[in-house]
Symmetry: C2
């Protein structure tokens, strides 16, 4: 039994302590928890044997930095993760409280278990194992862990874009994606970008009685419905002029590889998603829709009377949270401008509409033919005992584009989540066997790169 197998109990205890901190970055009342989570990460890095561990303060939540540079002549890896989490609501759908981690079967349930505390923590534990057992690392390692990934904060982006010398590295390593299937080692080579904002619509300057004014009064909720339907049609096609012009379709080779992935559509639909049917652009293959096409989604909406019973009011205003996911080579600023223009064009008479961007991140697409990705695929293959597959993800990790553009380094996305881990949803979990194999995969990766 090696060090990693001997310390599984301690790893789970440490992760549990991390998960107990409700570090929800999008809710300002959790600022103290954000601070606690950052401190927790810094202390774990020190315990692991990393040096120069510190909190980098700036506009937004602190970044956690640490380094170990005792392998001159060897490559330098920059590990990335995030210690912040999504809000847990709807709370009443959790089987155990979101910030009181509970192990059921082989899974640990808590907000952030997989996204991304579990996957951040496994990087630290991989390094810790090598340092505790051999006193050194096979390559040079830096950590940069952020606390605004779930809220679209720009602290890390501003910091990386300032190109501080200590961030110099040969590749970034990101554990924030998922495996295509249980036991199937997976590397993600493409991510969607995002433009996320709030649509404010205003009609009259006060709520109006729907009997007295109905038939002549502008209704902001109806206007949001009009706008949303103009942006995307019933079939799921985005109708924003020019929006898809830059979209690069997947290559034939990539599509063939996707078609070979082990996949049961019925199980995906009914078990994983809990849905009645898949929807989306007619004639476009599913993995294209999930990974290679832009989306437009309404994440939340509120307007008028939403209490118990009936109130016959035409509300003065309504608001919706809307995002669009982008794919290579769409540009965030151009896409945001196109979206805003389409909203104005669709805005009905009698109301005003304003779309305020909350955050944005570029899409990314990595060429997998480099030594950093090859070694990662080999490491995962050795630990999992299966050939590693390459996929894309429909999600967004904006830092990948920033690492590329500002530091000139590729990102290696080794993901250990599972498709049913309920990211951003109630009952988020992390599969503990993957937590342990993730730690070993990262350690093996460092050995292969340094050897």
């Amino acid at each position: 039994m090696n060090y990693y197998q001997q310390h599984q109990k301690q790893f789970v205890e440490g992760l549990t302590a991390f998960l107990r901190i409700p570090s929800i970055s999008t809710l300002s009342e959790h600022k103290p928890d954000i601070q606690r989570a950052a401190e927790f990460v810094r202390e774990e890095l020190l315990t692991a044997g990393m040096t120069a561990a510190e909190l980098i303060q700036g506009k937004g939540n602190p970044l956690v930095y640490a380094e170990w540079l005792g392998a001159p002549g060897k490559p330098t890896l920059l590990f990335y993760g995030h210690y912040d989490v999504q809000p847990p609501d709807p709370l009443d759908e959790w089987k155990s409280p979101p910030f009181e981690p509970q192990i059921r079967g082989n899974d640990i349930f808590a907000r952030g278990a997989c996204d991304d505390k579990g996957q951040t923590y496994l990087q630290i534990k991989a390094v810790e194992g090598l340092l505790k057992t051999t006193g050194k690392l096979p390559v040079n390692v830096k950590f940069l862990i952020e606390g605004e990934e779930e809220s679209g904060g720009e602290h890390i982006e501003a910091y990386v874009k300032s190109k501080p010398p200590r961030l110099k590295a040969d590749a970034a390593v990101i554990c924030d994606t998922e495996m295509f299937a249980p036991d199937l080692p997976t590397i993600c080579v493409g991510l969607r970008g995002i433009v996320y904002g709030e649509l404010f619509v205003e009609g009259a300057n006060h709520d109006l009685h729907s009997g007295v004014y109905g038939g002549a009064a502008p209704n902001p909720i109806q206007a949001i419905a009009e706008i949303v339907c103009a942006l995307k049609d019933r079939e799921g096609r985005i109708r924003i002029p020019g929006f898809s012009d830059r979209v690069v379709p997947p290559t034939a080779k990539e599509r063939e590889a996707w078609a070979r992935l082990p996949f049961n559509e019925k199980e995906f639909t009914e078990k994983e998603m809990g849905a009645r049917a898949l929807v989306g652009e007619p004639g476009v293959p599913l993995f294209d829709r999930l990974w290679g096409r832009p989306t437009l989604e309404v994440h939340g909406i509120r307007g008028g009377f939403i209490g118990e019973g009936a109130k016959t009011v035409i509300p003065a205003r309504a608001v919706a949270k809307i995002s669009t996911r982008l794919v290579a080579d769409q540009r965030t600023e151009e896409a945001a401008a196109q979206l805003k223009a389409a909203i104005q064009a669709a805005c009905p008479k009698g109301v005003t509409a304003e779309f305020k961007v909350l955050h944005a991140g570029a899409p990314s697409l990595t060429n997998p033919d480099n030594r950093f990705i090859h070694a990662a695929a080999e490491a995962m293959k050795q630990v999992f005992g299966k050939e590693t597959v390459y996929i894309r993800s429909g999600g967004s990790i904006p830092i990948v584009g920033v690492f590329d553009q500002s530091l000139g380094i590729p990102s290696v996305m080794m993901g250990f989540g599972l498709p049913d881990d309920n990211l951003h949803a109630p009952n988020e979990k992390f599969h503990l066997p993957n937590f342990f194999r993730g730690i070993e995969s990262v350690a093996r990766y460092l050995e292969l790169l340094g050897g």
Copy 2:
């Protein structure tokens, strides 16, 4: 100075006490306030000199009944009003708290000031004045005051439909409408009906990550937008098959009278409504749109993440409160069935939609050529010093249809509200001069009918 002029201060004090009771019928936590408001009305009726005052219990909020039957051979009037009020939200838009009445200028501000506590109370005070000064009334009078008008409760409907002998009367008198313009005595001869309900839409059985599933997951908010846009087009035309087949257009004579009403569209739009522009069916005159055409409005909507910041979730469900106003000769059950069928037809793939009716009421249209309406017009003319006009209202008072069908009596709708009284909205008010003239108009009405 007559009795009514001498007692204006006491009338305002009494109304203030009535308005302090937050008798919101649609919110169940206000049940005790409903009870207090009913008791308050009963005591006021006794103080006025009415007899047999009692609370009628049943399924729902209590009805208040009282009678004075000392004028054999004279007609019998049934006074109707309601002691319940709309919810006050949005609270932060009130200049003074909704249940702490405040007089500013000639207006008293409070939830229910006009709709309908002020107008219910003025009926009681009219009767009180005659009884205190002459010891009798010129006609027989009954009161039936309900507590579920704003929540669509069916207690009064069930009670009236049971045709209790004590409700026998020659006409009903309803003070729950408004004057067309300040100082312009007005009788309302038509009301819209209503079907009000909640639209529940469900997609997946749990919230989904919009990155991972966006492009293939059904979105219930988008589905509500699709449904709402299918029910009513951008221009305001209802698109429910068969829905308008029974709509009887206003007569040429009625339209001519409406066209003569003193009306400033710019002031109506900008000052009264606080809107940028009027909307609605192209080519249909404004008063037709407000009084003579059915409507479809979304009163409230909720779904997904509506907290601070960003959450990239595709929600499992969303809900909207939707009503349609009906006009003669539409039937509520038929209209509800047509609406439900149109919702099913418009429901996109991957979601289920269910519309649950919360309440419904038939439209009404009264022929003004009867002695009860003639006397009311004359009484108001004498008190206000101007010719009384006949209008319709776009609002709904379902009991009018029930009085017609179950008791076989016409309803006389003498309204003393003003167009800018902010019914169902923040800063509801009642114009005190109209409160006083309303009391005198009702008293004069009784004298004219009995004389």
